[in-house]
Assembly symmetry: C2
Homo-oligomer: 361 residues x 2
DNA sequence: TTGAAAGCGCTAACAA
DNA sequence: TTGTTAGCGCTTTCAA
């Protein structure tokens, strides 16, 4: 009397096992179990026997064997720099979109982490070794020689890449316009000394936000105050470090009316330092972030929304399309770049400038 | 004159290609490229030729072929329920630990998402089809019949499982003690009407936090006020809904001195509702979360820290150990459960109870 | 309708 | 020191 446990073995059942159990060949079992896409069909009787046997044996087709034969794993790779101990919300938001998009496309997602961009050349090609059908690269600081070593046999799409690479579609958001609109809005509120705590030099998105900041001033016929653009890492630590250094350099100078940070994480770092000095946001100084990550939403921070989840979803769509084209040897559309719009989010950290004169303590 | 581009083809180079290029057989190439673990060794000359050929061809061993032959993919699976549009910080923190641990162990991580626990029976076995060597299951609400269908051929460890399953190690944190200590501390501050907005019924961790809440009262010789324990989802929405309903039911009754939420996300939902009613935290009412996710850290919320990253890292360690045992057919240590300690985090949302009498508006 | 055979790219035993 | 062979589990022609 076989118990339900009896069928559970350390070894997974193979197609041959199923065939044996059903009294047919392994390939008959294969045909019966798959939709019978091949020329030959199996009889209803055989199919029923095979299905029953498969169920009895808890048969699951082996993914690696199938992957080897099909040259497809139904798995997408997502590579990103994920250093630091602090979780990265920017990544999480994009990841969330990727996961959702992949699920919708019947794909799973394997995550590859980079500790730094120097190791990208060595590691990225090693991911593209058949375990994934395509790769999504969060690439704000991809080395410039990437074009030489990115593998050609695995389709790649990038998100927020800092460079155009032939054959690689890039997804990004309208950073410059987002920054321009927000800073214009701030200028419209009367802010004049707007300190921009920007992202790292070399990150295209960070550069574009600086450009938006500058263009907003130019458009308003204003010159940004000198030394009001800082550059540091896209992290709370970066923001904290940058603003603290700036405040140290500017003792006795007028306190900025507002801080425009190039990311929510940077904004949070700034917020910490400002609060530590007893400054109230937004009564004494306004604070604006960029991204609209969960951090901004939960703290009602004013920010520029990037549709990060959408970027992830779209990346999956574009990638699966490329994979299809790659398989059918079609030339993939040479679409350069997909740009999604940003949106202003007016939270509780942006108000009209203070009337009192405050100086840096 | 071959350009650097010439070697880049749509097709990845195979071992046979390398052998051909080097003028040796494919297996000689294999032996030369791998550490030569087999009996036979290759001559230095052959090895050099093979290595050169491999480099020229940008050869990367195919992971699926290797996986099929070796029965190992060096990939760990991470399965979790990831519904909702809002990113899940609890998941992110554990995930971060898993990623780090996996990187340290030379493994990559594939993420499988469940939309609901009903589909677990169908989907979880389908992940264990050779593409992963082992599975980490975030399983707060695993169906009770899981023992019947969890595959035996793939090692599994669970995190925060709601049940003990033979052969599956579980990692969790000391929820009951964490809740007990925090509530005891709150009672010590003078709080008497502590509203516990708990997690879902059926989640063991949520139950344990309720138990800690109750034991703290019992230990202090106090009876918790009636109808002061709520249960809803582990999310901001759950917290928001639960507390709003409670406030609706208790118009005119005394406002609680404090809210003890079973997660940071729940706490955030409560915070939103309280703020919306013009209540100040902690001046009018204290608020305490659970988890110490990034959300709590960034908002300086009082909370009970669970070492989520550590749970992830340890899960990887235990899992890789199990995988090793599985391979060598050793009986894995029948270690039941690994419990990591929690820690109180006294943030800025917990203060002494208000002196004024406030009622629910 | 069914079975036999080849091959996906690699590893590992066995011969030479 | 090398090449040959077989096989991992599956899919897919091609014959029967």
């Amino acid at each position: 009397m076989p118990s339900s446990k009896a069928q559970r073995s350390r070894r997974a059942a193979t197609l041959a096992d199923v065939g044996r159990e059903a009294g047919v060949s392994a390939m008959a079992a294969s045909v019966a179990l798959n939709g019978a896409t091949t020329s030959s069909r199996v009889s209803d009787d055989t199919r029923a026997r095979v299905l029953a046997a498969a169920q009895r044996l808890r048969y699951r087709p082996n993914a690696t064997a199938r992957g080897l034969a099909d040259r497809r794993m139904n798995t997408l790779g997502l590579a990103a720099l994920l250093g630091g101990d602090e979780p990265n919300l920017y990544f999480l938001e994009v990841f969330n979109g990727v996961i959702k998009g992949a699920a919708a496309a019947g794909q799973t997602v394997t995550v590859f982490t980079l500790d730094n961009w120097a190791q990208a050349q060595q590691r990225i090609p090693s991911f593209c070794d058949g375990r994934i059908d395509g790769l999504i690269l969060l690439a704000p600081e991809l080395p410039v020689d990437a074009v030489d070593w990115l593998p050609e046999h695995t389709p790649v799409v990038s998100v927020h890449s800092n460079q155009e690479i032939a054959g690689i579609a890039n997804l990004e958001s309208d950073d410059e316009v987002g920054a321009f609109r927000m800073v214009s809005h701030m200028l419209g509120l009367g802010h004049r000394r707007i300190l921009h705590v920007g992202g790292p030099t070399g990150a295209l998105g960070a550069d574009r936000r600086v450009q938006g900041y500058l263009r907003a001033h130019a458009d308003a016929g204003l010159a940004p105050p000198p030394d009001h653009v800082l550059r540091d890492a896209f992290s709370a630590e970066g923001g904290s470090r940058a603003i603290e250094a700036w405040l140290g350099r500017h003792r006795g100078a007028p306190l900025p009316d507002a801080v425009f940070a190039a990311s929510d994480a940077i904004a949070l770092g700034c917020m910490e330092r400002l609060s530590a000095r007893g400054l109230r946001v937004p009564a004494d100084i306004s604070l604006v972030g960029f991204d609209d990550t969960l951090l901004a939403r939960s703290s009602h921070m004013a920010t520029v929304r990037q549709p990060l989840g959408q970027l992830g979803r779209r990346a999956v769509e574009v990638l699966t399309e490329r994979i299809g084209a790659h398989r059918s040897k079609t030339t993939a559309g040479t679409q350069r770049s997909i740009v999604l719009p940003t949106e202003m989010v007016l939270g509780q950290t942006l108000a009209a400038p203070r009337s009192a004169a405050l100086t840096v303590a």
